[in-house]
Symmetry: D2
Subunit: 290 residues, 4 copies
């Protein structure tokens, strides 16, 4: 079981009731197995009495087994502390399916970040209810699935979408300006592994045409919000938000154009954090170790 | 009627239906009276077909009468174009009454800006429903009016507040974290000349305890909004907004503390723009020439 | 000479010594020719006693001639006020040649903005000293010119580059992370119509490897600067700058990656303003009417 | 040695060569003494092979001795890992001496933050080479030391300043726009415990009149930098920086005024982090656990 050469990085993500000795238990286990911590963040949610931890480590030495054995050995410690936990090899690229409609800016942005190595992911499929983005996606070497949604075929197309997710082994689904209301059943399928970008600073301006709502209210700042998809429209746990100053001279169409950049930036950060296992759910809020 | 030496700056603020020749008419009138434009902004609201203009000028020459005569001469031009307009001598300091409750940060900030010359205003009175800020206000040489509001005396105290505004000749009333719901009648008294700071990014989190609402929703950015006071609570025309990033580790109390800086900054900018006649109402929106 | 139907928008950009009556002269001339001002900004540089103006107008009426006649009629007014001026039809798309090396992010960004209509320009050519970006550029339908620069052929390749600019009728050249030191002669060819993006917050970290310099100095914010190209390396008039927060945990490579977004954003804004004739030179500074 | 009731929070700050088992050793020691970690951050500087850790804990149980005994017990662990370390009771307020000249905005800001509990510190003395701020400082109940510096008495006044620091038991000296060049000897006295605010975005615009330098260069963003004082003027390790957008219309005097807010904000954050033991030196860079 001895190994030569450094392995990893690996990342351990933990959520458990707060009590004494958690860090000692975890770090002692890691040290005993020749693991060396390179990055670690802890957070104690005193309001709900919960403890959150993300630890990145490399391993180099005879006591480091393979990842499966490390997990197996960790399981009793996790059980003793009532942990929800995950342990990932950061060398394995997550698989991400992207959905888009007619606005391509977020899709372009994600694909260029993937190509240039900024986002470490594989993209086995792009799904769209329109055919506009086919050329760019196929030039990028990614299969394009055109699933037009009409009055009567939503359930059918959601079933196809679900099958694509399953077949591709997707770890994450990204709704990159996918302009479709999802059925509650499909939301359940996606729960916990689907990020949406909403083009407003939630909870302001939920629902349709948020930039027009923003113009009408005369706000001086517009924004975008990346959040996990849940059954409640635009109500899922918020991952990231950012804003853009505007003024009286901007028409609703100007806001639509100006908002593109902040939508791209916010969505790209949310996806990156999810790929790097930096996000932990805390009820309807998110803990994010950046 | 001849004058020697440069006069001004003066500022002319105009709002009127959009049509050809407005700028020509105004600038020709000013040029004929030896006025020299130093700063000017125009905005055409194409949606409502309105034209907005703010022009700063100095005057130096025999054709410049006094301000009263300049106004008199301008009146027919204004009438011909259906203008709402104001013409101010920027050398005259506006009078500003400030109201505060227990949180003093915005008050401190405004008074220091006034003292250091950043905000050109006179402060004839500070009004409060508490006595906490008396010492600092009186050290600053400003009369302090303690008007405690209980269950039965709101109308009475609002009448006193109204009298203070009238006696002091206030051009502007600033609610610098004044934690009282105003009666509709008092809102009418204040309409168009009263700025409030709300400690959220409106329209999110209206009403009480916005930082607690923000924490509960798990937003990643908090904000503050300066707006004109109208009868509808936290619904008046927005003047300025700004934001502050937060994360999962911040408690509601942290948000309260972190929000102070952005409240001060937003309110100070709104007051400055009003003092400099940069704000023009456009329905429930504001045009701001910065 | 009568016309029917609205024409424009057109944009008039003026720089002249400050004196009374400029606005009156210009706006009266426009009004007389049935032009209606939709947007206008004036700036008086009191330090250098200069006046800057940008006026956008539409025309609708019998007194509006064609643009050539409008220019001809304006020439004597301009001469009387010692104006440097330009008058453009905003319906005509400027031609922009883009140069790139191996980092493609700014190029991708500019091409997507062009395709989606955010940047109104035609791109007759992309020039590169490497061949990496050929596939994407050609997929976009734009001719790709590979001009590899070695020890001995710089003058020759700059001559080819100059010819491409000339043949394409380019109004603007954008150096989108083009990693070549230009000869003084080529800088002269480009002067006034070439924008470069430098990956630091100038004047900090001029020259090579600015992100490594920034890491070494331990700054907490990195930035990017778009500027006009002049003979003095990284010393030309600044058009736009923006920043990104960083911290101790970021390696120089992290800074390189994080900087990409701010480089794209800064360059895109600078190009947009130039396309919309919003930038006027004021010595080694720029006046920008946004 | 048994105790009842929760104690703390305490904060342990560690810097040492990176090796396996550091976190295990520290956290096991804390757990054995009934300490409960509430907040922790680790950072591994791979370039210099150093490990940094900040751990906040509370203690509640029979195994928690007093702080002195906890330190004593920790010393051998620290020695075994070559640690530089500090262990503080966060209930003890640090003592901070503030120096100021004629610009009072940072001083006002710090004093109001102290009064309102945002900054947990005692201020035993304010030192100034001018007498302008006496009234506000004395109204705040803080002794004011007027040490005018002329051509011949700098050494003498620096000796008095040093004595005030010594007598007051100051943990930190803050130069809140103290406009004096310090002698190398006095810099040595202050090293590691003195924060200065410089009114530019370092390394741009070192030395005198940075806002005038910024205007002259035509930058579009100004900034401020809080840094530790060292012998090299404006070259000490940077703690915090922030920026403010400006444009062509702003005169050097405008920049001076606009810069005040960002100076206050940057300095206040730097002081807060130092008071909370969040800053660790890493050569000429700083590690900051926020």
């Amino acid at each position: 079981m001895s190994v030569t050469g450094e392995k990893g990085p690996y990342v351990l993500v933990v959520r458990c009731p707060d009590r004494k000795g958690i860090v000692a238990a975890v770090s002692t286990y890691l040290a005993r197995h020749d693991a060396s911590i390179t990055e670690s963040n802890h957070f104690n949610d005193a309001i709900n009495d919960l403890f959150f931890m993300r630890t990145v480590f490399r391993a180099d030495g005879p006591e480091f087994p393979d990842l499966a054995a490390l997990k197996e050995g960790f399981a009793p410690i996790a059980a003793a502390h009532d942990m929800r936990w995950e342990l990932h090899d950061m060398g394995v690229k997550p698989k991400v399916v992207i959905a888009v409609s007619k606005f391509g800016h977020c899709l372009y942005d994600l694909l260029h970040r993937q190509r240039s190595g900024i986002l470490r992911m594989d993209i086995p499929a792009v799904v769209s209810n329109h055919d506009d983005m086919r050329s760019f996606v196929e030039w990028s070497g990614i299969p394009y699935h055109h699933l037009p949604v009409g009055r009567d075929n939503k359930a059918e197309q959601e079933a196809r979408f679900t099958q694509i997710i399953k077949d591709s082994g997707a770890d994450l689904v990204v709704l990159a300006r996918y302009m479709q209301i999802l059925s509650p059943e499909f939301c359940d399928v996606l729960e916990g592994r689907c990020i949406n970008i909403h083009h407003s600073f939630l909870p302001s301006f939920k629902g349709a045409k948020p930039y027009h709502q923003a113009h009408d209210r005369g706000v001086k700042i517009i924004g975008a919000t990346a959040h996990f998809v849940t059954r409640a429209l635009d109500e899922g746990p918020i991952i990231e938000q950012d804003i853009q100053r505007v003024d009286h001279s901007h028409t609703p169409d100007d806001l639509v154009n100006m908002g593109r950049d902040v939508e791209c930036a916010v969505l790209a950060r949310a996806v990156k954090w999810q790929l790097e296992h930096r996000i932990i759910m805390d009820g309807k809020r998110t803990v994010i170790f950046r």
